[in-house]
């Protein structure tokens, strides 16, 4: 059976790379005695795949991995089991059974929610003014940025990739297109804004937190975003 696991990556664990998170979970599953399935062959490995890796330094409460197990207790039991074997910073939030034929967490990934705020000490002088200008900038019809491709530098419009944007209490909430075709990182929007003002954005200025990841169950005409965990169902 295919299981989708949602987890957090917060606190000090934001400095752990993606491969290390994978290795971490391989060991959590073994310690917790989960009946994880292994690939065939001389050096079997756990059947496990992750959705979009988080860059070093970012935090998240909406990370996903898909695994295959031969048996499972109830979702509540499995959560308790896993959380007994993890560390501060990584908490397992859901354990859900995927329907047959569901896209894996990476292939189905279409959008993500983030909050972005300034790291203390890096705030613009007039924060309120900054957010007003930022909102106006994002409200334009077109935001052109340069994108380095393998062969050349291309101009692309990132405005259509911003699905939602809300500013409140010193931070911005953004829902942006993600995944293999159109992938927008929140910092790209900030970079574009700073570029438009001719100012420099410090690489440490932003604290970016991922809230959720979605798959798109709609069609060309209308998006229908469903969180990756809602593709699966709790095991009772």
């Amino acid at each position: 059976m295919k299981i989708r696991v949602k987890f957090t990556k917060e606190g000090d664990l934001k400095f752990i790379g993606h491969l290390d998170v994978m290795r971490f979970f391989q060991k959590v599953l073994r310690r917790a005695g989960v009946a994880i399935c292994y690939s065939a062959g001389f050096s079997p490995h756990q059947i496990m795949s992750f959705s979009a890796p988080l860059s070093l330094g970012l935090t998240s409460e909406g990370e996903y991995m898909d695994i295959e197990v031969s048996e499972s207790g109830s979702s509540a039991e499995m959560l308790a089991k896993l959380n007994a074997h993890t560390v501060d910073g990584i908490r397992v939030l859901s354990w859900r059974l995927l329907p047959d034929g569901a896209d894996n967490a990476m292939a189905g990934f279409a959008a993500a929610d983030y909050t972005v705020k300034f790291r203390p000490g890096y705030e613009p002088e007039d924060l309120a003014q900054f957010w007003t200008e930022f909102e106006a900038f994002c409200g334009q019809d077109e935001i052109m940025v340069e994108k380095q491709t393998k062969r050349s530098v291309k101009q692309i419009n990132i405005r259509p990739l911003i699905y939602q944007l809300k500013i409140s209490e010193g931070e911005v909430f953004m829902q942006v297109a993600s995944g293999s075709t159109n992938h927008l990182k929140p910092e790209m929007v900030f970079q574009a804004f700073y570029d438009s003002k001719g100012e420099e954005l410090s690489p440490f200025a932003l604290m970016i937190h991922r809230l959720e990841m979605y798959t798109d169950l709609g069609d060309e005409n209308e998006r229908k975003l469903v969180s990756l965990q809602d593709v699966g169902t709790d095991i009772l």
Partner: protein, 619 residues
């Protein structure tokens, strides 16, 4: 929640920040206000290397079992963080609490190889602890050195308050109890060191003075404090089944060099190879009980979730219950767990086991003949004959292996051109064995014999401790003799040859048999920027030469000088169990190319029996 010692910006500016976080699964966190002793245990190299070391894991377990003690880990900050810490005046911190090492009661440093000496100074320096023990105050931690290099601690004696000579499981409880009592009574650092000098295995270098002869050799070592014993006898754990051993090894987030749980099946080695320091100083051989090992193996795998378990010992094939433990692991390891079996003699049994735990097509088998001719092997007492090597190889080739690694040493005493070329010829004959044993239709690609040589370094407490070393040019010439011979072999297309750097060899030689005078060279090299010298990309031989020249140290004195059998060595004050008389006997037998039987075959009276246990009392 604990606060990291480094800021987000600092951690994001350096490579692999996971090295500095602590908080790994099974790391021990205590309330610092509820313990009496804070012990920082340090492996002076980068995290990935230090975390791969079993000794630290054992000591970590042992210290943290004490309610009154919290032991935390410290490793060398890599070059990038080293620079940042100096620029921004960040003191070196321990991983668990992220507190400055300077605030600890003890800083214990394990010294596993000579080329980490500058890193010891880095650790002290970044911690804000004076480099010389003589300059430390009541505010500084007590700095302890341990590990194999302390069998000659003299080149680094100046930097340590005390050395622990022997196995950590033995005297630490007594030492910590004394410390706690001294602290409670408000006694001085000196009073503690005087009390510590009476603990078995403890050497307080500051309590001794060295008198030199005119030629620079040692006249005598004099105790200048009433509490200091004339000789310091190593301490060992006789019963390895009732000493601390981890049940819950720390699980690093990042990939470390030895990413597996380690099961130490025995200590010491019966073989008596004359070049091998470990084989001498870890005597007598002591085996661990099979039930103890089974329990530990199961616990460690379960509590770590690691996917590999490795047996550890100097010579696993000599462990009495090897088949038992290996079969137990194969049957009970669970899916996806690998077993790694280093230090196995290649024979029918080991090949059978290996074929069960490895992919034969991908893996290689390893032989360490150490020398190319029988005369040379007899000289170093490597009791391995060419017949045994070739029959092992034949068996492996028939079993489907076609990759072989061969390890040799060059620069051994009495070595001739014939011995050097013998390395090449042996490799060539091994390739021929493949062609003889494996019919054409069964061959799976070409046989590959990878030969690698390192240069022999005479080590204290070995029968070859009297040996003369050579110049870097001479070492390289010897390597070229092998290389040239190899090109002329019939099966040269199946042979590959790599050799180690000769410059590092010279320095290791100086440190291995150096005296207290060497310390100023190490300090000067450190000041000039030498660091992580065991990392080829960091090692700067010219800088070392310049440092030694500036402080007036003559390298040749330590490497090229002929030592008489009567010379007083810097390490003679240590009683490591093996007597100097035994070592002399063995040196003389080496010069006659005579083999000595191993401990189980016939006792050689080395002196280790005085410990009262182990293989010496098996019968």
């Amino acid at each position: 929640m604990r606060k990291l010692a480094l800021t987000d910006e600092q951690l994001l500016s350096i490579e692999k920040p996971a090295r500095y976080l602590g908080n790994e699964v099974n790391a021990v966190v205590k309330d610092k206000d509820s313990v009496d002793i804070r012990f920082a245990i340090c492996f002076p190299d980068v995290y990935e290397i230090g975390m791969s070391h079993l000794g630290i894991q054992i000591l970590y377990e042992m210290f943290n079992r004490r309610q009154d003690t919290w032991c935390e880990r410290v490793y060398s900050p890599w070059n990038d963080l080293d620079k940042l810490m100096r620029e921004e005046h960040i003191p070196l911190f321990a991983l668990e609490s992220q507190d400055p090492v300077k605030n600890f009661d003890f800083l214990g440093i394990t010294i596993q190889y000579e080329m980490c000496y500058t890193n010891i100074l880095q650790v002290l320096d970044l911690a804000g602890i004076p480099l010389s023990a003589a300059d430390r105050t009541e505010e500084d931690p007590i700095v302890i050195g341990g590990g194999p290099c302390v069998y000659n601690p003299e080149p680094i004696a100046e930097f340590f308050d005390l050395f622990y000579i022997g196995e950590g499981e033995t005297s630490y409880d007594e030492l910590l109890d004394i410390y706690k009592e001294c602290k409670k009574q408000g006694k001085s650092r000196r009073a503690f060191l005087e009390a510590a000098a009476g603990v078995p295995g403890i050497y307080v270098p500051g309590f001794y003075e060295i008198k030199y002869n005119e030629d620079g050799t040692i006249d005598e070592m004099v105790a200048i404090n009433d509490h200091a014993p004339a000789t310091v006898r190593k301490v060992i754990a006789l019963d390895l089944d009732h000493v601390p051993y981890p049940d819950k090894p720390i699980v690093p987030f990042m990939k470390v060099t030895q990413d597996r749980v380690v099961l130490e099946i025995q200590r010491g080695c019966i073989r008596g190879c004359r070049f091998c320091q470990a084989g001498m100083v870890y005597r007598p051989v002591r085996e661990r009980n099979i039930d103890f090992l089974k329990e530990k193996a199961a616990n460690m795998l379960k509590n770590s979730g690691q996917e590999e378990i490795s047996l550890s010992s100097l010579s696993s094939s000599d462990y009495s219950h090897l088949a038992d433990i290996v079969n137990f692991l194969i049957e009970n390891k669970g899916t996806g767990v690998n077993i790694s079996l280093p230090s196995l003699r290649i024979d029918a049994f080991s090949l059978d086991v290996m074929s069960k735990v490895q992919d034969v097509r991908k893996s290689s088998i390893t032989f360490a003949p150490e020398a190319g001719t029988q005369r040379m092997r007899d000289t170093i007492n490597k009791g391995l004959t060419e017949e045994v090597i070739m029959s092992g190889a034949a068996e492996a080739f028939r079993g489907g292996w076609n990759k072989v690694k061969l390890y040799f040493m060059l620069g051994l005493p009495t070595e001739t051109e014939a011995d050097m070329e013998g390395i090449s010829h042996l490799a060539n004959r091994m390739a021929a064995v493949y062609f003889d044993e494996v019919p054409k239709e069964k061959r799976n690609g070409r046989v590959q014999i990878n030969v690698s040589t390192s240069f022999f370094i005479p080590k204290p407490f070995t029968p070859l401790q009297w040996a003369v070393m050579y110049t870097p040019e001479e070492y390289e010439r010897r390597a070229r003799v092998v290389s040239t011979a190899m090109k002329g072999e019939l099966n040269h297309k199946s042979l590959r040859y790599a050799w180690h750097d000769a410059d590092v060899t010279i320095l290791e030689g100086v440190f291995a048999r150096g005296d207290r005078k060497v310390a100023k060279g190490i300090r000067r090299a450190y000041e000039m920027g030498c660091l992580f010298d065991s990392w080829t990309e960091n090692f700067d031989y010219q800088k070392w030469l310049k440092a030694f020249e500036e402080v007036g140290l003559d390298i040749d004195f330590y490497t090229m000088r002929e030592r008489s059998l009567e010379e007083v060595f810097p390490w003679d004050f240590i009683d490591a169990g093996v007597t100097k008389n035994f070592l002399k006997r063995e040196w003389n037998r080496a010069m006659e190319a005579k083999v000595s039987p191993n401990c189980r075959a016939q006792c050689q009276g080395c002196g280790a029996a005085t410990f009262g246990g182990g293989v010496c009392f098996e019968n």
